[in-house]
Amino acid sequence: MNGSFRQSMAWLHTWSGLLVGWVLLAMFLTGTATYFRPEITRWMEPETGMPADYHIAAAGAAAYLSKVAPDAKSWSITLPDERQATASVFWQPQPKPGEEERPRRRGRNRDTQATLDAATGDVVKPRETRGGEFFYRFHFQMHYLPVIWGRWFAGLCAMFMLVAIVSGVITHKRIFKDFFTFRPTKAAQRSWLDAHNMTAVLALPFHAMITYTGLVTLMALYMPWGVLANYSSDDAYFKAVFPRAEEIERSGVAAPLAPLPKVIDEASKAWGGGRPWIINVSNPGDATARIEVTRHSGDKLSYRGGSLTFDASGKLLTRSPEAGPANVTGGAMYGIHMGRFAEPVLRWVYFLCSLAGCAMVATGLVLWSVSRRQKLPDPERPHFGFRLVEKLNIGTIAGVPAGMAAMLWANRLLPVEMASRSPWEVHSMFILWGGMILYACLRPNKKAWMETLGLAAFMVAALPIVSAVTTPERNIFANAMRGDGAMVAFDLTLVALGALLAFCGWKAARYKPVAKPKRKAPAPTVATEAA
């Protein structure tokens, strides 16, 4: 490999990383939070109880549905897993004569759906919030943009990330020699470079995996040609991959529905120990009823679970066809990205590796400005583009965590009855993020770093207190007394993350830029420094 190839790769690495770096940081941070999506949702819905066994939840849901919608066209029950406290149900009423059949869509119609407590089966009315779902959605489809545009944009950013990873590995000449090297006390540029290399190289398997599989999860959108070449339409493709049972006319002969807990046990037996996730019942209460049980993907690497169909008496009728090899591969990539199978230890490993990814992006952004400042003709009076990068760095690195915390603050502080409450929770995140960027523009850099990071640390670390004051039943001691370990851990994690941000702020406060050494030769580029 010659120098010029490496230099062109360094150029590519620098600019592909910088151009979308701020969006990538937001995607990485919200994606990291998504590993605790059910916990975030539970935190944001303090009206809900504790997780319970899915047998109980299934029985409760069936009892509720046979009360409110005994003659519905179909029921759908999403069972809670061991991390969720509620089952969600929705039903499709019989179409009235002459009425067009409504499309099966969740969440469109508030009066044909309900949230049920996992343990009691009672209806719970949590405050209007998007919960952890928002971070999940944001990290691949953005916000304030049409969904498809957002996904294209997220895909573009992920592609830049992939380019940055590959070119970064090529650029990094001493990948093994500097494997364990971190010199925090050396000159700023050196230690930022070390920190960037360290967080990038040591968690490289994770970064490469998450970026690549992230793109693969949306491959049917980005590269539709494979599907188009083999299927007449998208619908035909989805029908082939996720077959739906044929609709059967009601016979009019009443027949009791088999108890769902028993059906679940049958299903688990047929799967050799799997868990159920979604139960669809068509024609409930009729002799032609069909119970379709979809498998939870939590015990498999592949995200696609497959389903079983039972008749009204609970006899196993059909299994969904085995997925083909391409589908299994796709499902496994999706699964490994989501980490749904991850038990607590592995989930924390995912979370921490993902935090390292956030640090990699953030240190990369800072490194750009630190290493470039020395090379400016007059470091005291940088040009507009350079100042823009610096201000966006401050406003984003401190602003996104603070904004995410602001969303949780809003969750507790906005009145519960407020109209369009959940949109305002989301707005609060972007308002604070934007505010932080503006604030950074008004203050000198060092002050801006200290103050924004300080505010972010406070916003995150104070959340357990905000929660304890506004929802006393969710203070950390009440949670501990109830045996709700996940919520106790949630509060402690917030404090730890706040401390981490405070540490960064403290580092910024102690940072003294070194006087520019007089050099005769032009300063080397980032690339040759890295080399």
Binding site: F179, F180, T181, L202, F206, V345, L346, L352, A356
Partner: protein
């Protein structure tokens, strides 16, 4: 327990590999190792990483175990690299301790699984 053994052995493994590199020996050990010793430490480290993989597979099978091991060694390497500049000696000594405890945990897990 076996997960703890995996993390400890992964950490011990990277301490071994790190200590076998000449540039890290002065800070971590306060002295230079002879070439033979250096090779032994390196292979010891690699063996500990392999043992960590065994733990992961033992705990969660080939599929999940492999994913878990990749994550565990990333975290172990990050921990060592972050700790070494501030507490170099202790980081190295912790590696020896981690190897010992990890090996004992793995051994007891193996014994239990044979029974």
């Amino acid at each position: 327990m076996i997960h703890l053994a995996m993390l400890l052995l992964a950490y011990a493994g990277f301490v071994g590999i790190c200590v076998s590199m000449a540039k890290h020996q002065p800070e971590l050990l306060g002295r230079k190792l002879e070439p033979l010793r250096q090779r032994q430490v390196r292979w010891g480290g690699a063996a500990a990483l392999a043992a960590a993989y065994a733990c992961a597979v033992l705990a969660d099978g080939w599929k999940f175990g492999s994913v878990e091991w990749c994550g565990a060694i990333s975290l172990a390497a990050l921990t060592l690299t972050l700790a070494a500049p501030y507490r170099p000696r202790q980081a190295a000594q912790a590696g020896a301790g981690a190897a010992l405890v990890g090996a004992m945990l793995l051994a007891s897990a193996l014994l239990l699984s044979i029974k």
